[in-house]
């Protein structure tokens, strides 16, 4: 009788956990920032699925542990065995087999999400080739001569669609510069047209950096002397924050830039206006500002630091 009651209680608990997990999966969308790119929607769907599945496993197993903790306490001084069972082949195979299926499901689903995503990462393990740029054919000069590299260049060209907007992203300690080759405009703000694929050619002039806008749900490290292409399709007009995502030294935390996703007209207008301006030294460079005038702090080490690089000269300074 007690057994049946126990099974009943456990069954009800499990059903509750299942229901709760599905609710949690739905809720998980609200834990993320706004969905500002096509990839963001895909990643959030994946995350919701992961939350649901993890929640079933987590609350299921932790629930069993807590249940044991509450109901299976020994009386004081009772050192007799609980049960002498050393194992059960069927159960062991079950809990080896089910997780295999579950993780393959997760990996398979992630795979399909990834294939659908717009990102393009690098193409080789080491020493990736510079991406051929429309505006800067000179880049191709640094390409290593050899039969392999010719194939690789062909590859990169095939992926590329001439329709995409191209922006060159130049990172250095600790500032971002954005170059729009179509109008030869430079800026310290990243302006992007909405609903149109953008190819960002990521470059670094000193150490590793990382391109990360949380609202776009994607991230790419930037490797010096090895331009990497990142493809994004912004879908939500708004202002976002770009942040360096790979530790880049003393003023790492200050290495941010504003990102504006705008309608096609606004974008074209901004580009026109910027092109009309004469290039000036970028006014706001937080790292340089802070280096010149360090704020008051409780503990100061005064250790040496790499100096902030010269502020870039840009048409548009945000």
């Amino acid at each position: 009788m007690l057994r049946i009651l126990e099974f009943l209680v456990l069954g009800v608990c499990f059903a509750a956990i299942l229901a709760f997990s599905f609710w949690l999966g739905g809720e998980s969308y609200s834990w993320m920032p706004a969905q500002a790119s096509t990839d963001a929607q895909r990643v959030d769907n994946l995350f919701s699925f992961l939350v649901t599945m993890s929640s079933v496993i987590f609350f299921g197993v932790a629930g069993l542990q807590i249940y044991s903790l509450i109901f299976y306490r020994a009386r004081e001084g009772d050192y007799t065995e609980g049960h002498p069972s050393r194992g059960n082949r069927k159960i062991e195979i079950f809990w080896m087999g089910i997780p295999v299926l579950l993780v393959l499901w997760i990996a398979g689903y992630s795979f399909s999400v990834y294939v659908g995503m717009d990102v393009i990462g690098p193409t080789t393990v080491l020493g990736d080739l510079p991406v051929p740029l429309v505006a800067e054919p000179a880049e191709a000069d640094t390409v290593n001569t050899g039969s392999q590299s010719d194939e690789r260049v062909a590859d990169t060209v095939n992926i590329g669609s001439q329709d995409d907007e191209r922006v060159e992203v130049i990172s250095k300690q600790w500032s971002w510069t954005f170059l729009y080759p179509s109008k030869n405009v430079t800026s310290t703000e990243l302006h992007l047209p909405v609903n149109r694929p953008v190819r960002l050619i990521l470059k670094s002039e000193d150490v590793l950096h990382g391109f990360y806008v949380p609202e776009f749900r994607t991230k790419q490290d930037i490797i010096p002397n090895r331009p990497i292409e990142l493809r994004i399709v912004p879908i939500l007009v708004g202002k976002y924050q770009l942040h360096d995502s790979e530790l880049s030294g003393t003023y790492f935390a200050l290495m941010g830039a504003n990102v504006y996703v705008e309608s096609a007209e606004d974008y074209a207008k901004w580009l026109e206006q910027a092109a009309a301006k004469t290039p000036v030294i970028a006014a706001t460079n937080q790292a340089a500002l802070e280096h010149a005038q360090p704020p008051k702090r409780l503990i100061r080490s005064n250790w040496y630091t790499v100096l902030p690089a010269e502020p870039p000269i840009v048409n548009h300074s945000g």
């Binding site: 920032p33 895909r42 990643v43 994946l46 992961l50 993890s54 496993i57 987590f58 197993v61 903790l69 299976y72 306490r73 009386r75 004081e76 065995e81 609980g82 002498p84 050393r86 194992g87 062991e92 809990w95 080896m96 997780p99 295999v100 993780v103 393959l104 997760i106 992630s110 795979f111 999400v113 995503m117 690098p122 193409t123 080789t124 080491l126 150490v207 590793l208 990360y212 609202e215 994607t218 991230k219 790419q220 490290d221 490797i223 010096p224 002397n225 090895r226 995502s245 530790l247 030294g249 003393t250 360090p294 704020p295 702090r297 503990i299 100061r300 080490s301 250790w303 040496y304 790499v306």
Partner: protein
């Protein structure tokens, strides 16, 4: 009650044992002693000292993150602090403290007189404090400590802003290489001991899971540590000798370093975690009075984790210039590691299920560790799902997941082990009330500190930043509060251990009524561990046999505990 007489007789017996010179001679802990039990205590105490230092760094970091602007320490120091925090906690706390526990337990558990090469063992220990001191000394350099994170990714780590000869990064490299050599000595010792020095009858499938875990972990050290040592040596050459291995503008490749680094540094997570899984597998059966459920599959899963862990390293590099095929391949291998790990978690749960649980401190720590590892595990699988990882990589989500592994699972597990084997190490019992208080503070503090990092990471807060956007402040304040609570939680532990080591009441040889060879010898064990070489005839975890169902009346500790 005749108990008084019995207590008297055990006391005199113990007096004779300790005259053999293991406990009374406190000064031997400061000498080049070759006894594995002495070396074990040396490791544990030294690494715990570094744990306190690393914890202090962490609390300064949490202090800085209470408010959005950078206002507590300057940015160089902040970078130095998190670099040192990571390095200290990994290389000077987790690894050596587990080596300490293994040192104490392995010979006892397999019925050996000592470790295979006692001289090498002592030598390995005595390389560890100098390496730690070297690392700490870099705080006094004018250019400060290494500031490139515990990964020390070039070219940042070789950027070298000040003195080309004496700089923190050089000290960091030398310290890591020194610790690497020490670890290899340790690994050779442990593997040889386990393979060659088992007592008669101690077949592989009679070894406790802790021994299996240490064997797997030390094999990982043996095979993968060379990659880190090699990588750091090349980094050192780039830094100080002018070579170009990782210099991108002179033909080198920084991503190569990342491969060499993670080829070791992912398996190393299992070098830390596996022994703790072993500890959990020792403690849970003893306090639930059940045999470990599915012993053989757990043993095989241990080896399985070690094997699979060799094939997953690039999941740390999903965003760092890794081509598509590699991202996908490593995603599949990474999520597969959840399977053998799951076997362990399920086995622990089944062991506790329908048991007769005794909620003593070691059990609370072990079950707490197992439960929090569950959270670490499911977030780990999430991170393995590569498209999601592209979003949260290098954010606080990863930091939270990682700390659920290294603090909430590993460190909590180590505390459990110290409480569980404290009677064996010292011959005395710790104070149960203080132990429970320590657990409560740790459990609350750890979750308060590391859970808030999850939502922060999802929202996009990048790791390793000293100042942040005000929108992240709320969770950061909670995490910082938890961090300070964790700092406080360590105080009852210190008080308890020091007091009990000196004044705790003496216990019998097997106060927990546990199985395992280590409990058949005296507490603390005599010089060569066993009066005569034991012969093993049973599988481990033979709970359910009548002699473990009884309370030994000669067992003063148990009598006191149960008449409390």
């Amino acid at each position: 009650m005749t108990a008084d007489n019995t207590i008297q007789s055990t006391d005199t017996k113990r007096g004779e044992d300790s005259q053999s010179g293991y406990r009374e001679n406190w000064w031997q802990y400061f000498t080049f002693n070759k006894d594995h039990k002495v070396i074990a205590i040396q490791y544990l105490v030294t690494s715990f000292t570094f744990f306190l230092i690393g914890g202090l760094f962490a609390m300064i970091i949490r202090g800085e993150l209470v408010t959005p602007p950078s206002d507590l320490v300057d940015r160089q120091l902040y970078n130095g602090l998190f670099t040192m925090h990571g390095t200290v906690m990994i290389f000077l706390w987790i690894i050596p403290s587990l080596v300490g526990l293994s040192n104490f337990l392995i010979p006892l558990m397999i019925g050996a007189k000592d470790i295979a090469f006692p001289f090498l063992n002592a030598l390995a220990f005595w390389m560890f404090p100098p390496a730690g001191i070297l690392l700490m000394a870099s705080f006094f350099l004018p250019s400060g400590t290494a500031q490139a994170g515990w990964w020390s990714y070039p070219p940042l780590s070789t950027q070298n802003p000040s003195d080309p000869v004496l700089n923190g990064q050089l000290f960091w490299c030398l310290s890591i290489v020194l610790l690497g050599v020490s670890s290899i000595m340790g690994a050779v010792n442990f593997v040889t001991t386990i393979v060659r020095l088992r007592a008669p009858g101690m077949t592989f499938f009679r070894m406790p899971i802790f021994v299996w875990s240490v064997l797997s972990a030390q094999l990982l050290q043996l095979f993968f540590l060379p990659s880190l040592t090699g990588g750091v040596l090349l980094l050192l050459c780039d830094l100080s000798l002018g070579t170009n291995f990782f210099e991108p503008f002179r033909g080198g490749d920084p991503v190569l370093y990342q491969h060499m680094f993670w080829f070791y540094s992912h398996p190393t997570v299992y070098v830390w975690a596996l022994p703790v899984f072993g500890i959990i597998a020792e403690i849970l059966p003893a306090f639930s009075r059940n045999p470990l459920f599915g012993y053989k599959s757990v043993a095989v899963a241990t080896i399985g984790i070690a094997v699979i862990s060799a094939t997953v390293w690039a999941h740390h590099m999903f965003t760092s210039g890794t081509p598509m095929w590699m991202r996908i391949l490593f995603m599949f291998t990474s999520v597969l590691i959840a399977v053998p790990t799951g076997v362990k978690e399920f086995s622990w749960t089944a062991t506790v299920w329908r048991g007769k649980l005794h909620l003593d401190t070691p059990f609370l720590f072990a079950l707490g560790s197992a439960a929090m590892f569950l959270f670490a595990g499911v977030t780990g699988v999430m991170l393995g799902a590569m498209p999601f990882d592209l979003h949260v990589h290098n954010t606080h989500f990863v930091v939270g997941h990682f700390h659920y592994v290294v603090y909430n699972t590993i460190t909590v597990g180590i505390f459990g082990a110290i409480y569980f084997w404290f009677p064996k190490m010292s011959g005395r019992m710790y104070n149960e009330g203080w132990g429970k208080l320590h657990f409560l503070l740790t459990f609350i503090g750890a979750n308060l500190t590391f859970f808030p990092m999850m939502p922060l990471g999802l929202q996009g807060m990048v790791r390793r930043i000293a100042s942040y956007d005000p929108q992240y402040q709320w969770w950061n304040v909670i995490a910082s509060f938890g961090g300070f609570l964790l700092g406080v939680s360590i105080l009852p532990f210190i008080a308890n251990i020091i007091y009990s080591w000196a004044f705790g009441y003496k216990v019998s040889d097997n106060p927990w009524h546990a199985t395992g060879l280590e409990w058949t010898t005296t507490s603390p064990p005599p010089k060569e561990n066993f009066k005569e070489v034991p012969t093993v005839t049973l599988a481990p975890y033979s709970y359910g046999r009548p002699q473990y169902s009884t309370v030994d009346s000669t067992d003063e500790g148990a009598v006191r505990r149960h008449h409390r």
